[in-house]
Amino acid sequence: MDVETLANALVAGILTGMVYGLSALGLSVIFGVIRIVNFAHGELLVIGMFAALVLFRWLGLDPLLSVPLVAALLFVFGYLLQSLVIRRVAHLADHMQFLLLAAIAIAMVSGCLIVFGPDPQGVQLDYALDSFAVGLLVIDKTRLYAAIAAVLVAGLLLAFFKYATVGRAIRACADNYLGAQVVGLNVGRLYALTFGIGSACIGAAGCIILLLVDVHPYLAPGYTLLAFIVVIIGGMGSLFGALLGGVLIGVAEAMAAVVIQPSLKTAFSFALLIVVLLLRPQGLLGKAPH
């Protein structure tokens, strides 16, 4: 394998990994705070992609420009989902939550199938097939834009949790549920906000991913698994962990594909997941459970 191929694969892996990381951020935020494992993650992402697709078809809006709109839409969806449905199963065991979310996921995929059909659909942008050549590297424009957008959105989210009082209050809920009740935080509303913010993040990721991938309903389960792998490797609930996990998986898959065999690349993600679960179940940047 020559240097040129490896270098190109590495760069593409990092760029793709940033987008992976952004999509996993939404999962990580929701799990970190509400302790709900969102098995409908990929479905929300696909809904975000379809929303961006519709905006592109109707208004000719570049998916990158529709990020705020789609994020707002998914925020509302996530807020309602948490406050109307998921709140009711919060006291139930893991497997019941899993089943509920899996059922919701199936309903969402089917809804997409009815509305949009099974065919992969994408956006054709003016710059869709452009690329930059820098020395040995050939970097495609959409991937670079997607990565930049992912980093911007992730930065925005991190700043929100770090500096906004609501963001701090949400972190407080995640940190100590009883403590949050004791200081009089409205935990129910903050949870709904969190699910909304997590979903908005997934929606933003959906818009960005639409640059790289054509959307069809059956994409969803694959993205759910991918996000899980990313988040577990990075550390459930750790936001930087999700980004790191995304880049690691992006690079690992790209390298496995060029060095070994593309059809084996996901096996590496799963092997990495198993190793991390065994050696460091809290993930690379996660905190050990109390």
Binding site: M1, D2, E4, T5, N8, A9, A12, G13, T16, L113, G117, P118, D119, P120, G122, A128, L129, D130, S131, A133, V138, D140, K141, T142, R143, L212, V213, D214, H216, Y218, L219, G222, Y223, E253, A254, A257, V258, Q261, P262, S263, K265, T266
Partner: protein, 410 residues
């Protein structure tokens, strides 16, 4: 529906309720009056990964009853099933269609799904005329009720080599190295196996430098293309499905991979949706696939009917072979004069159709129920149309080889 009105008594929920639920699930077609029409089950992947292709095949099946009736064949009624691109569902759907009283089955485009359905037909004694499926074992297992008018993997590979030689000779430009990239599913793997196994027999001008397999469900094929480009092969040979063919092309352009040409043996690269999605970038691909002979009268009838039903749609492998399967069924029904399974199978074994659609001398099954004479064509995408370039007797135009570089397309 029974279930809605007869609510099971509470006491008997455990026993009676379950029975009622199960009974309530009975399909409505059971016990429908048997007419003199031949009921043909058409089982195709109409949702899931191969949905577009299944739907494409369906278009030809839909045209068949009326078109064939006008040619003097008997009445046929289609009973439709969807495999959801899943062999297990293909099996269940085949059983369900048989329960609904079909006399003969056709389908299923995909090798895995076709094999699963074939097992059911074999078990139940229902004749099954395969429209498209290349996996050799389908006619090597000794099924008594399964017939195939589609070339097997090795036949396709053989023709692919012969057609390439013809093309390289005609254009005077042959690659010295080729990278083989195939989708890692039933069709892709068996086809790639056949190619690597047979290449030495044909004294080709090139070596296959690497065989790259990729996941049919892959979302992003950039690393795959990067690996292919990294081999520095002069030409690339794909075995793909539709969606990955589109993704592959886009990535090749973005990564500025300019091979001498793209060869495909299999679906994807010749399809209407491919050319539609890629426009000028979809041109010049050469597909070495089973094809129709545009010069045959039945082909002309099919093309005309297709134009009438779906203006702008060009006839392709999916249409030709699905239609021809219907033709074979209609022909057997005419000769058998009955809908009885045993008589239909006997008639199918004696099939000898000259007035057909696909390339080759006609339809005649060997003792394994395979049509050994069916042949492939080389077709090239040109301005959004598929034009046959080889073999010479079924050609419509001259080849463009090497292909126009991406950057030089107007």
């Amino acid at each position: 529906m029974e279930l809605a009105t007869s609510r099971p008594r509470r006491r008997a929920v455990l026993a009676g309720g379950v029975a009622a639920l199960v009974a309530g699930a009975a399909p409505f077609n059971i016990g429908r009056a048997q007419g003199s029409k031949l009921k043909v089950g058409v089982l195709l992947p109409k949702s899931g990964l191969q949905a577009q292709i299944g739907i494409d095949c369906q278009r030809a099946a839909d045209l068949a009853p009326a078109l064939l009736k006008s040619k003097g064949f008997g009445d046929m009624e289609l009973v439709l099933g969807d495999t959801e691109t899943n062999p297990q569902i293909a099996r269940a759907q085949a059983e369900k269609l048989i329960d609904q009283g079909i006399h003969v089955l056709t389908g299923c485009f995909d090798s895995g799904q076709t094999l699963a359905a074939a097992q059911v037909c074999e078990q139940k004694g229902i004749p099954f005329v395969v429209n498209i499926a290349a996996v050799p074992s389908l006619t090597e297992q000794g099924f008594k009720t399964v017939f195939r008018n589609f070339p097997t993997g090795p036949m396709i590979a053989t023709d692919a080599f012969l057609l390439q030689k013809e093309m390289y000779a005609a254009t005077g430009k042959a690659p010295k190295t080729v990278v083989l990239m195939h989708v890692n599913d039933t069709f892709g793997t068996s086809q790639a196996d056949a190619i690597t196994k047979l290449i030495d027999k044909f004294d080709m001008p090139y070596k296959i430098v690497e065989r790259i397999s990729y996941d049919p469900a892959a979302r992003d094929l950039s690393a795959e293309v990067r690996k292919g480009k990294g081999t520095n092969a002069e030409a690339v040979w794909f075995i793909s499905r539709l969606n990955d063919a589109i993704l592959m092309t886009r990535e090749m352009i973005k990564q500025r991979w300019e091979p001498m040409g793209i060869i495909s043996s299999g679906p994807g690269w010749y399809e209407g949706q491919y050319m539609q999605a890629l426009g000028k970038h979809g041109d010049d691909v050469v597909s070495l696939v089973p094809w129709y002979d545009p010069n045959k009268p039945m082909s002309k009838a099919l093309v005309a009917a297709m134009q009438k039903a779906h203006a702008g749609l060009t006839v392709n492998t999916n249409h030709a072979h699905t239609f021809e399967a219907m033709l074979i069924i209609a022909d057997a029904y005419k000769r058998a004069g009955a809908t009885d399974a045993a008589k239909l199978i006997a008639a199918l074994e004696k099939t000898d159709i000259k007035d057909n659609v696909t390339v080759g001398p006609g339809v005649k099954f060997d003792e394994k129920h395979q049509n050994p004479k069916t042949r492939c064509s080389a077709v090239q995408n040109r301005g959004g149309k598929n034009l046959a370039i080889f073999p010479a007797e079924a050609a419509e135009t001259k080849p463009v080889w090497p292909m126009t570089p991406w950057s030089k397309r107007a």
